[in-house]
């Protein structure tokens, strides 16, 4: 410890000594130091003089009485408990709202296929078509004439579905004339000319690739979304009801 910092440490002890709050070992150490350090003795005298000046300052008289002219409403213990409860409700509402927003975000991303590229869509479509062909050629029995399945493939399909597969349609440009040969599949660039994705879902095999969408029931996400909405709404209503009469006194 340098001489300067040691001296500053003793100056701090002098301040406490002057205020009469230094005791025990600190006081003994200071007295021992004062017996050998003239500058600290001077410091003590100066600090005492400053303290005397400050303490000689009289309190200013008050310009008037501050007695209360009327009794304002007091914050009772009940109010305090209510305030704490209200705060916890506000936190719960905020949390529920965050969860709700997160669930909505996840739901939107799932429904819009967030992150999927057109190339991925086309590859999925190609896979579905290939599966469909295999099913038709290997596994599926020849439909009887007039059956519903046969009707759906007998050229009576809606035009909106078949238009993309017309001989001069954009989807068939790269296909071979022989229907048994799948030939080249559309490139990602070609996908821009396809009909809407909804129409593609009607194609054989495509629906099977979208099983997570067409299972007919409610997913866990939907139930979570519904629960979060209800909780948020209930909490928000409670908070509004509690704060309707104004903020509790603090």
């Amino acid at each position: 410890m340098s001489i300067f910092s040691r001296h500053t440490a003793y100056e701090r002890l002098v301040t406490e000594h002057v205020d009469g709050v230094l005791g025990g070992a600190g006081e003994a150490r200071l007295q021992q130091h004062l017996a050998t350090c003239a500058s600290c003795v001077v410091e003590m005298r100066e600090q005492q003089a400053v303290r005397s000046l400050l303490r000689a300052e009289a309190l200013m008289p008050t310009p008037r009485s501050f007695a209360l002219p009327y009794a304002p409403r007091q914050a009772t213990a009940g109010n305090s408990r209510m305030t704490e409860w209200l705060r916890s409700m506000q936190v719960a509402t905020a949390t529920a709202a965050v969860v709700l927003v997160a669930l909505v975000g996840v739901s939107v991303v799932n429904q819009t296929g967030g992150g999927r590229t057109a190339e991925a869509d086309v590859q999925q479509l190609a896979s579905a078509i290939e599966n469909s062909d295999k099913l038709e050629t290997a596994a599926a029995p020849e439909p009887e004439a007039g059956s519903p399945v046969a009707r759906s493939f007998d050229g009576a399909a809606p035009e909106s579905i078949t238009s993309g597969f017309a001989p001069d349609g954009p989807f068939t440009e790269g296909l071979a004339a022989d229907s048994e040969d799948v030939g080249e599949l559309p490139t990602p660039e070609d996908s821009s000319s396809l009909s809407s994705p909804t129409e593609l879902l009607f194609m054989p095999g495509v629906a099977t690739a979208q099983t997570d969408v067409s299972d007919g029931g409610h997913s866990v996400l939907e139930w979570a979304l519904l629960a979060a909405s209800v909780v948020t709404a209930v909490l928000a209503l409670l908070v509004v009801a509690m704060t309707w009469r104004g903020r509790p006194p603090t």
Binding site: E57, P63, A67
Partner: protein, 205 residues
């Protein structure tokens, strides 16, 4: 006359606080009368504006009455002054606050000796006392807010370190450190004054 500082709440004060909690305004106003001078002086030293200090003191007593249920015993004076200090501190941090010159504000409308001058003293002594007071107040006003608050509490209001720490929310070490730095600064600012007083004490040396 204010009571001696830094005492735990007396039986009478506890009784007043209990009655005030039950809605007895007379009992609460007895507390106000006892501590209003300390409260006003703390606000005045912190804000350096008599008008603002008056407002803050009144608001603090209203707040104290509204929240008397939160008083858990201990020093009633410390509890009240903490409310005053918090309100004054909020105002100090408010950007909209306009600070006024301390000297003009303190002496505004007062007699030449100021309202703090001792009535028993001769006019010359009163003038000298008033001048010394002006210099001391001016020097204290130059301190940073946190040092000024502690100098006010410990030296003017004569509270102990622990109570000053409770009121300002500072640790004991911080109280000591700020007091030391504040006193060192005041020692430099008031050197002509205390040197004169030291010479008067020891004319032969």
């Amino acid at each position: 006359m204010p009571t001696p500082p830094s005492e735990p709440a007396s039986d009478q004060e506890r009784d007043w606080a209990f009655q005030a909690r039950a809605g007895n305004l007379v009992a609460f106003n007895a507390i106000v009368e006892r501590y209003q001078q300390f409260a006003y002086n703390l606000a005045l030293r912190l804000l350096r504006d008599p008008s603002l200090a008056e407002d803050v003191t009144q608001e603090a007593f209203f707040s104290a009455y509204r929240n008397i249920a939160s008083y858990r015993g201990g020093s009633l004076k410390s509890w009240l002054l903490a409310i005053v200090a918090n309100r004054a501190h909020d105002l100090l941090r408010s950007p909209a606050r306009t600070r006024t010159s301390s000297l003009e504000a303190y002496t505004e409308g007062g007699d030449p000796g100021g309202p703090w001058a001792h009535p028993d003293r001769l006019p010359d002594e009163q003038a000298e006392q008033a001048e010394t007071s002006r210099l001391v107040r001016d020097a204290v006003d130059q301190l940073p807010d946190n040092q000024r608050m502690l100098i006010t509490l410990v030296d003017l209001e004569q509270m102990d370190y622990e109570e000053a720490g409770l009121i300002t929310g500072a640790s004991l070490g911080t109280v000591k450190s700020r007091l030391f730095r504040g006193r060192q600064r005041l020692k430099e600012l008031l050197r002509p004054v205390w040197e004169l007083s030291l010479r008067e004490e020891r004319p032969s040396s």
